[in-house]
Symmetry: C2
Subunit: 362 residues, 2 copies
């Protein structure tokens, strides 16, 4: 697989190595510097609506005994990623770990003892090179499903996503190489559960409403987030997010929109600040008479609502109202609870009505 | 959606209702009978290589106060399934719960308080009608992915699964209506992890080796199990299963081959007794020099190995040897550990070699 960015990313990795070599020949302790990836260094940029890493920098020095092992590991990972880039290969982060795990000659020490040692260093390399791991040719776990009037070119194959029956396209972890050949869709509907996507497909919602359906199956995988971003950016499609009416669903929305705390350094390329929240809302419960099919808010749910209330990116009048209403009702509501009206209700009334009336939360 | 079995299944449900009506008009307590679904009533049929339910029968009597609520719920679920069958609709088991959850007129009682009340009764209805839940038009969670030289007709769409790039077809929960239009594959390779499928697709394994790849993503979902069964039954394709070399991987294999304890009543339609286990095996560790990339067997792993040793369907010389070897080595090995040889190794040497030499465990 080849990306346009390959040569650029390989060059960035080479520069890290060049500096280390220069340090060695200059008689200095080899060192690399990288942004701090801790919550204390995560900032919300209100204008852009994105989470970013701040300016705190840390360094890793080979001759500092506390850094030596990590330094060695960082070099191994950087070298392997450059090799992947040059060979046009990709690897899962687990494969990378196994590829690099070996005995250090003349010692009883292994290069890596577990994937928990290699994963954070991959994130380090991402921030050091200002690249997504996918641009380093590394893959995370994939999940997500797509349906709609969209024709994609993937590895030379032409895939018409409106002709995939009720099965759909599995969204891979790397989608940067997708070419969007044709698109006859008016918007992207991002849906929390795959079961709800099944429902919409059975009702031919995507075909009747010119919608691209992206099913997440819970928290959005990186591939699905990147794909939504690309659909918004390249095809200028509006994006609506449809989750359960609970703090977990709202956080899924905020990750798609704003980015995640853990991966704040990647928001710029994974998040879609233009996306809008469609439902389920607390107002839906009264409006559609769903009182009997709500679930009681548990303590863990309440705790999470209170956390969201503290996040700067939920600090907007509509969201505060929504979250406080959830606490005062003591209830949450699932997407699939709409089935209590009728199986067709979500496709025939709920979604088209909300979209026509532009009933969104931003 | 319509299946050939629809009328037959609807008729079976009607008969249950007919009997209840006859009971009522005959002045008898309404009653339904059903097979006991407990481990004590699960038997391994050695000749067929399948798990079956035994002959123990229980009854549910409306006038027995302990049964009344369940009896009412059973009737609600049966009636709704018949309605789905007649309308040609399908519903997720969660939607079914929400569709049926309502207040009982004149009382403070709800028909259902949680999905944990409706799910077991769906299984009851499956055994009572000797039907898969998919034949009752109910859907479980789907997961799984497919690639290969196979053309499927799904809801009128013609899907060429060899032309889906690196994305692949998402396997839905209902596959009974798939029509296999063309097949140029020699065998089905069932793979535990999706990441390994990604690897094989990157190496074009499916195209170069005429293989249909089915990625499970952990324990096999019902849709994936049923699909493998249909590929074996209708297209007469041999099925090889490729999992991690640990008790969890071996159990995934046994569920695909023999059926699961929980769903023993469905083995006949979900399990593929002809399938064969390809790897990873304990012998692989020495043969391919993978000692450095094994993981230590934890207590929970050891306990699970000892459980498998007690299952009748693992009571075969090769499996006993394999499981005991795992205990004596104190090690397990993952599919992706093969990356320590090289990324291409699994596709270029490991799999083709094993298949050519017919190195299987039955």
């Amino acid at each position: 697989m080849k990306f346009e960015s390959d040569a650029k990313v390989a060059e960035k990795i080479k520069k890290i190595g060049d500096r280390v070599v220069a340090d060695i020949f200059g008689g200095n302790a080899p060192e690399v510097t990288l942004p701090v990836r801790a919550a204390s260094n995560v900032h919300y940029n209100k204008e852009e609506g994105l989470l970013y890493l701040g300016n705190s920098i840390s360094s890793r020095n080979f001759l500092n005994f506390a850094h030596t092992r990590k330094f060695m590991q960082t070099m191994l990972i950087a070298a392997k990623c450059r090799e992947l880039l040059e060979k046009g290969k990709t690897a899962s982060i687990r494969e990378l770990y196994y590829e690099l795990k070996h005995n250090i000659q003349g010692t009883k020490e292994n290069t890596f003892e577990g994937q928990d040692e290699s994963d954070p260093l991959i994130e380090d390399l991402e921030t050091m090179t200002d690249s997504l791991r996918e641009e380093l040719h590394l893959k995370a776990d994939s999940s997500g499903i797509l349906f709609g009037k969209l024709v994609i070119e993937d590895m030379g194959d032409r895939i018409d996503c409106s002709k995939l029956g009720k099965s759909g396209l599995a969204i891979p972890s790397i989608v940067d190489d997708y070419k969007f050949l044709e698109c006859d869709a008016d918007y992207v509907l991002v849906v929390e559960t795959k079961a709800m996507v099944d429902r919409l497909v059975e009702e031919k919602y995507h075909l009747n409403n010119n919608a691209i359906l992206v099913g997440l199956g819970g928290q959005a995988a990186r591939g699905a987030r990147r794909l939504v971003k690309l659909l918004n950016e390249r095809l200028k499609l509006p994006v609506y997010v449809f989750t359960d009416g609970d703090p977990w669903g709202y956080y899924i929305y905020s990750v798609v929109k704003t980015g995640s705390m853990n991966l704040a350094y990647e928001s710029k390329r994974l998040a879609t600040p233009q996306c809008r929240f469609l439902g389920m809302t607390m107002a839906d419960i009264d409006k559609y008479g769903l009182q009997k099919v709500t679930e009681k808010l548990k303590d863990v749910d309440k705790k999470r609502v209170n956390q969201l209330l503290k996040y700067e990116w939920f600090n907007k009048p509509q969201w505060i109202k929504e979250l406080k209403s959830m606490l005062s009702k003591g209830a949450r509501i699932e997407q699939q609870a709409l089935a209590s009206k009728s199986l067709e209700f979500v496709a025939k009334e709920y979604l088209p009505g909300k979209i026509a009336r532009k009933e969104f939360i931003d």
